[in-house]
């Protein structure tokens, strides 16, 4: 078949900007080298979906706290990131950036943002602040100790690359993208509120640390800095990053001891309307949590939310009805998982205890009795079939119900973990023994949660309500481990 020729066309949409590509031609670099390997600190892999319940948990979290995540718990960082977005956008555009639709272009855009995130961490450390949300702190401390000489803030290539996801911007990216006024909807281009927040942050900086447009119009050879963005900010763009760090604690990331305190009024006035607008689900959920009387545990809070008339008007009558039973069952299952993990390590990392031996342990039997009871409650709750991804939960509850003996109960849970767990598995059954699959330090055994803590902290900082009682209750669980495996 003859292929017809295609008419090609090209539209010139603006001035063509030549970007000096950071890649180095191989012909200049064909020499060999020999080396020793530097210490490798693998970025810890979060293994928090041991049961495969994350999708169901996220369903509830999206209903209650859309756009948040467990890491987005400091409203100050929204102000700081707005400042970072504003000035990195200027630098990125000066360096030739214009389009954000493709992966390479987004990576180039982020390359201008990342050093500013890390310089704020460095600024906080320089001020003497030792707590708060300071992601990448260990590397930045090394970088500071070594006189800011190591490239990329003393991070390895892998750490620096993954900071995009595990760094501060990664934690707040969904908020920045989805909350109107922060960005133009792309998570990158600052919108009106972000500009005002950025200006506020800038004004609160000591004069020598402030940025202004003139800094970026000084005849900089931008192509030279592509691929060396961190150096650009440290040496040229924000060379005053540490100036007055000790005098400017007010605009640093919030330290741990202040996380429940409201931010300054001026800042709250900008943040509260966008994060907790009238009739927004975040405001309604936060107010429900704040109003809850006589709550003493996370389970109590789930029950309050499930029966809230205000919430049901917004998210639908039946949507949250399953939350208490789901949370109770998930907590009971994690309690049993931690019990197994604890026993496994009591036998030593290299041993694999027979499941029959484990089944005789009274503590484990008690945990599995609680698990089965919680499973029965889940199976009795009406409307559980309507929960997206609820089949994984129901399947485990049914398996536990059908397992008559402790040996079968342990086996059923271990099989479920292996079949539905996400990421690395903790252990598996082999030849009727429980065999560990990760090192004893390799398990993150936290319970399934619904971003309620982030929501409560943001609400407290934005002055929506006093959230102390809810935050205190969240720390209490229905099932408490004497020896939690972490």
């Amino acid at each position: 078949m003859k292929i017809p020729s295609r008419v090609t066309f090209q539209l010139t949409l603006g001035p063509v900007i030549c970007i000096e590509v950071a890649s180095i031609h191989m012909k200049e670099r064909s020499t060999w080298s020999w080396n020793f390997t530097a210490p490798w600190e693998p970025i810890s892999v979060r293994r928090g979906d041991a049961l495969g319940f994350r999708a169901a948990a996220d369903h509830f979290a999206e209903l209650l706290a859309p756009g948040l995540n467990n890491g987005s718990s400091d409203a100050r960082w929204i102000s700081i990131l707005s400042w970072c977005l504003k000035w990195s956008h200027v630098a990125w555009q000066n360096a030739g950036g214009s389009d954000l639709s493709r992966r390479d272009e987004q990576q180039a855009r982020y390359a201008w943002l990342r050093p500013l995130e890390l310089l704020w961490v460095a600024r906080a450390l320089e001020s003497g602040q030792a707590s708060g949300q300071l992601r990448g702190r260990r590397s930045v401390e090394r970088w500071l100790t070594k006189g800011q000489r190591p490239a990329n803030f003393a991070m390895t290539d892998e750490q620096y690359r993954r900071y995009r996801q595990i760094g501060t911007y990664g934690a707040y990216r969904v908020m920045l993208r989805t909350i109107p006024g922060l960005t133009e909807g792309d998570g990158w281009t600052p919108a009106s509120v972000a500009h005002r927040l950025a200006d506020l942050v800038n004004e609160r900086l000591p004069r020598d640390a402030r940025l202004n447009d003139a800094i970026f119009g000084d005849g900089t050879k931008w192509g030279h800095w592509n691929g060396k963005e961190a150096r650009y900010w440290v040496e040229r763009g924000w060379s005053g990053w540490r100036d007055g760090a000790d005098r400017a604690r007010g605009m640093l990331p919030v330290p741990d001891e202040d996380t429940r305190k409201p931010l300054p009024l001026e800042e709250r006035r900008l943040l509260e309307p966008v994060l907790f607008g009238e009739q927004s689900i975040l405001r309604i959920a936060a107010l429900e949590l704040a109003r809850a009387k006589s709550v003493s545990s996370h389970g109590d809070l789930c029950a309050v939310l499930a029966t809230s008339r205000e919430l049901s008007k917004t998210v639908g009558d039946a949507s949250l009805a399953l939350l208490p039973e789901f949370s109770h069952f998930a907590d009971a299952t994690m309690h049993a998982m931690r019990g197994l993990w604890g026993e496994l390590n009591r036998h030593g990392e290299k041993q694999a205890p027979p499941i029959a031996d484990l089944a005789r342990l009274s503590d484990l039997r008690h945990r599995f009795d609680q698990l089965r009871a919680a499973g029965d409650r889940w199976l009795r709750v009406p409307g559980r079939d309507r929960l997206a991804h609820g089949y994984v939960v129901t399947r485990l509850a049914e398996a536990m119900r059908d397992a008559a003996t402790p040996i079968r109960q342990i086996t059923a849970l271990v099989h479920h973990h292996h079949e539905f767990g996400g990421g690395r598995r903790w252990f598996r059954e082999q030849d009727r023994k429980l065999v560990p699959l990760v090192a004893h330090t390799g398990v993150v055994a936290s319970n399934y949660r619904f971003r309620l803590r982030s929501l409560s902290l943001l609400a407290a900082q934005c002055g929506v309500a006093a959230m102390d009682r809810a935050i205190d209750a969240m720390a209490q669980h229905d099932f408490n481990d004497e020896e939690e495996a972490q």
Partner: protein
């Protein structure tokens, strides 16, 4: 190049290029957790990371799975057969994408070399990166051990010549022997590496030193360097006897009193690692032969950056050769043992590979001081043979989508052999093998075969099933570790991105139900441009990128089939679009696919 660098152990994309093919050799079976969570995302320049957040995790596995699928048949790992009790692996699906071969198809062999080779491409340039080191593909090798390595990145010419290939010296016969030992499919992969080596000359001043099981002593390869003194640091010293040591010295052309072995004292921190071993018998033989044993003190450091707080133990194998006015350094995988080197008429048992070059680095000479018993005495440990004899010498399991073929080489043809196959989903089937081969019909793409365990008496040999299904069949197996409801959308989003389409938008991927339409320009026009024009340009850009990819793989049947399959999926995707540009692109893809059919 005299001073050593201090480099990240993780390989990463070079010079903005993308990975086209990779070969790894390792002694220990590769650690799938290390590959999935660190090595492959780094090599592929992944945008997403393994996170607790479900969407980010799904994007991570979607991106990784899509990238690995595009590279299927071009990611090769060759190791020794895993005779030791095998740890249950994480991510067993990995071996559908990464082919894991073992040596021993022709005769007993140990694969101890650590050669990693990467073929990079970017626009019109291609490069070959070679790494020769002491690093196995295991987490402990990366995290707990200090390794030494040599590396080079070379631009590839278009022309393939035998003269160019010969400049690589012993590396070529080493690859040939490895290919023979790892089976036919591995041989075809290694042939491609040899072709690349025929496109660029070996850098000047570099000589490869290779051991091949059953071939001449590799120590003889050192003789041309006219060695007058040698300083050795390696964590394992073999069970030499006096006769073997003498033969080794004669092969190298050096008196054993000119050999300086750098060794740890019994109170050295590296003792706790159990990584260093020399038997009392070997120590006595070395002393009898006049080898000078020198103590590596607790404070000894291998480079400026090597800190006291660094708790890793050295797994590096270094040999500093002095000859007249020159010093040369050998960076290798070879411990100082007969198995690694051979000696006299004794041939090596292992595949080993090293690189020798001139060096002004003298630290290895000065690192040792005489042992001073009882204050310092050489550490001795009798270690069990790492590769105990097994009747099961080599095995392979291949799945072509219709049947699984099993091949086994055993030293005992009389004893029955069973093979137990594990499938995705947890099922297992057991069969009896006769005559070293078996064919088993299997067409279930949802429950793909993952691994096979061969058992003969007390001996066990585990292998990962090598998936050789054609691309169209392979595409039927769901992406790993992602919700099946999101898998198709993820797959299409990353397919588009691979061909220059927009960055993956989580909102359009997750929760998208029903027929999906291709995202085109990536976002609305921000200026006065006409959206339809932008969409058309974006869609035709994807088509053009696909055509370029197709042209680049011309002549390679397997790769053409993979790109063709991508074209089929793009056609389906654009066929669902409701804009004129989508229809035009689908139409043109249809013509072009018909043309290459």
């Amino acid at each position: 190049m005299s001073r050593p660098g201090w480099e990240d152990v993780l390989p990463s994309p070079s010079f903005g290029g993308s990975l086209h093919e990779a070969w790894f050799t390792t002694f220990d079976p590769p650690d799938s957790g290390l590959l999935v969570e660190h090595v492959l995302p780094s090599l592929l320049g992944a945008s997403h990371s393994l996170s607790q957040d479900l969407k980010e995790r799904s994007l991570f596995f979607g991106e990784l799975g899509s990238a690995l699928e595009a590279l299927r048949g071009r990611l090769t790992v060759i190791s020794s057969p895993p005779h030791a009790d095998r740890k249950e692996a994480q991510y067993p699906w990995l071996w559908r994408y990464v082919s894991h071969f073992t040596v021993g198809a022709q005769a007993r062999a140990v694969q101890h070399a650590k050669l990693w080779a990467f073929h990079w491409k970017a626009e019109n340039e291609e490069w070959l990166e070679l790494r020769v080191s002491s690093t196995n593909l295991t987490e402990s090798a990366f995290k707990d051990q200090l390794q030494a390595g040599w590396e080079v990145k070379l631009p590839l010419a278009g022309r393939v010549t035998d003269r160019t290939r010969r400049t690589w010296g012993e590396l070529i016969p080493f690859i040939d022997a490895l290919a023979d030992s790892a089976g036919e499919i591995a041989a075809a992969r290694l042939q491609r590496l040899k072709t690349l080596l025929a496109r660029v000359e070996c850098p000047g001043g570099v000589t490869f030193i290779a051991s091949v099981p059953g071939k001449k002593s590799a120590a003889r390869q050192l003789k041309p360097f006219d060695v007058s003194e040698i300083h050795v640091m390696a964590p394992t010293v073999g069970d030499w006897d006096w006769r073997e040591l003498s033969a080794w010295g004669a092969d190298v052309g050096i008196g054993l009193d000119k050999v300086h072995l750098k060794w740890i004292p019994a109170n050295h921190p590296w003792v706790a690692s159990h990584g260093w071993a020399m038997s009392r018998k070997a120590k006595a033989a070395l002393e009898d032969a006049g080898v000078k044993m020198e103590s590596i003190s607790n404070g000894s450091r291998l480079s400026e950056q090597h800190q006291d707080a660094d708790s890793r133990w050295s797994h590096a194998k270094l040999y500093l050769l002095r000859s007249r006015a020159k010093r040369r350094l050998l960076v290798t995988s070879a411990n100082w043992s007969r198995s690694a080197w051979g000696a006299g008429k004794e041939t090596p048992r292992n595949f080993e590979l090293g690189v020798i070059f001139e060096s002004a680095w003298t630290d290895l000479e000065t690192i040792g001081e005489p042992f001073d018993p009882p204050r310092t005495a050489p550490f001795c440990l009798n270690r069990e043979d790492e590769t105990p004899f097994s009747t099961l010498q080599w095995a392979q399991a291949l799945w072509n989508g219709e049947r699984i073929e099993f091949h086994l080489r055993s030293t005992d043809s009389s004893m029955p052999v069973t093979v137990a196959v594990s499938f995705a989903g947890g099922t297992e089937k057991e069969h009896r093998l006769s005559g070293g081969t078996l064919e088993m019909r299997w067409t279930d793409t949802e429950c793909a075969p993952l691994s096979a365990r061969f058992t003969q008496g007390v001996d066990v040999l585990d292998v990962n099933v090598i998936d050789i299904r054609p691309p169209a069949e392979f595409a039927k197996t769901p992406l790993p570790e992602v919700d099946p409801a999101d898998a198709a959308a993820l797959r299409e989003a990353f397919l588009l991105r691979r061909y220059g389409g927009p960055a993956v938008d989580p909102e359009s991927v997750f929760g998208a139900r029903g027929p999906r339409k291709p995202s085109v320009a990536g976002g609305p026009a921000a200026d006065f441009a006409v959206q339809a024009w932008l969409d058309a340009r974006a869609a035709f850009n994807v088509l053009d990128q696909w055509r370029v990819a197709l042209a680049q793989v011309a002549g390679d049947r397997e790769l053409t089939a993979a790109v063709r399959q991508d074209g089929e999926e793009l056609r389906t995707l654009y066929g669902r679009g409701d804009t004129p540009s989508c229809r035009l692109v689908a139409e043109e893809l249809c013509w072009r696919l018909n043309e290459i059919a």
